[in-house]
Amino acid sequence: MSKSNSFRDVAVVSVASHQTKILSEVNEVQLMADLISNCRNSVGVTQEEIGFTCSGSSDFLAGQAFSFVHTLDSVGAFPPISESHVEMDGAFALYEAWVKLQIGEVDTALVYSYGKPSAGSIIDVLATQLDPYYVSPLWPDCFSIAALQARLLLDKGLITLEKMAETSMRSQMNGSDNPNAVRSSKDVSFENLMNEPAIVDPLRASDISEIADGGCAIILAAGDKAKLLCERPAWIKGIDHRVDSHTLGVRDLTRSPSAFLAAEKAGINTDRLDLAEIHGMTSAQELILEKEFDLNEETRVNLSGGSLASDTMMASGLIRISEVASRIISGQADRGLAHATSGPCLQQNLVCILEGE
């Protein structure tokens, strides 16, 4: 049972996102300047009216310490603003902003995050998040680590290559309606996906998320302010994040206990879920998450194509929240789950339950 009813009502009132394979001649500041102003303009607020600003990005990806400070230029940092940053996916920045709004001193918050993996080698960047003594010096790439997890699931009969292909197919077909989807196809065939060779054994190219550049901006507002800014706000009915051990060998990699717990604490209630946007690096991870959340056939999963279609380090999770919120704001859905993950093999997980009035 969710305790969220005792919290202050906070809603997503505006979203903007952009993803593409490679952003060329556009840096992170330019990308986010467009997205942030679109997000503010669509609900008619200026930065002066925003009570708190929180961002998520990676210095390791940008190759520069305090790289997020540059991106504050896209917000407009004068007059001075109240601001924070997490070296995490923007979904976790949204959690911080939600906590700030709970305190009650401000009524609005801007959350944004971005990543530009095309400028470096993301698989090497992600190797540096692993244990610095036992694992990082071996430089395992992120997809190989995910492949170890997929094989465990296959060997134990918990998933099949066919189920993985169905998941990839769903992503590609759903993504064909999403301008941000880098890999999508209306004509994708199950046979073709099954016939693809494994590129990171047992994962095929279509089982692995499509790395993309991009970013996302979201405006949160509390109580009456949310109703003033948006006809149908996407209310945050519950939000929670949990973490499993950093050490791969001590975890049961066929599961994600922290995802299960976060969903439970956020008050998931699968009987009333119109849609779910789940964040995984592989088709196998999406299958783990569907099981942890115990989703039934009534819930449409990853209508955007999900992170398999376009995966932007530090933004993919916030984009999941944006995808659910925008469908609630537009009246296409009443209640949805958004999920964000961080760390290897679904180590850390955030679940946000959104609902229209």
Binding site: S24, P137, L148, L248, V250
Partner: protein, 153 residues
């Protein structure tokens, strides 16, 4: 915004100009590697973590009792690396695996040195192969090779 095929690129070297000490648990494991020995650490329920951690991953209690484990064990899961990353200790294609050593209750990540993925299977037995010159680093362990009666002895 314009989107072309190639991004702009600039050279940048990311450095970590600090030194760290590895402490009594990780340090003991690293010293073991130099002596061709593999150590784990005992949890309060008697199970053994290899490689050892300073704190219990579930209860968070500090752990202190180091125990030596076998140099051989089984492959719990694996994938094939081809080509290896340039920074990695390996030049040739190899398997990357989670290996549970005999006497251990958890698995460690390392390479299995075989010529092709057809030689790999989950559950196969492997044994450690050491570098000639060892410095107290995870790559002192060159990797694991398939256990035969010869390597078993």
């Amino acid at each position: 915004m314009s989107e072309l095929e190639e991004p702009l690129r600039a050279e940048l070297t990311v450095e970590y100009p600090f030194t760290r000490t590895t402490g009594t648990v990780i340090g003991a494991f690293m010293t073991g590697l130099r002596e061709k020995r593999l150590f784990g650490i005992k949890r309060s329920d008697g199970s053994v973590l290899v490689p050892p951690l300073e704190y219990d991953p579930v209860s968070s209690e500090p752990l202190t009792e180091m125990v030596e484990v076998s140099q051989s064990g089984i492959v719990e899961t694996w994938t094939w690396i081809d080509p290896p990353r340039p920074q990695s200790p390996w030049d040739a294609p190899h398997a990357l695996a989670l290996i549970r050593l005999d006497g251990a209750d958890t698995s460690m990540l390392h390479a299995v040195l075989v010529g092709s993925p057809s030689e790999m299977r989950t559950g196969m037995r492997v044994t450690a192969r050491w570098k000639e010159e060892r410095v107290g680093h995870i790559a002192d362990l060159e990797g694991f090779i398939q256990e035969t009666e010869e390597t078993d002895s």
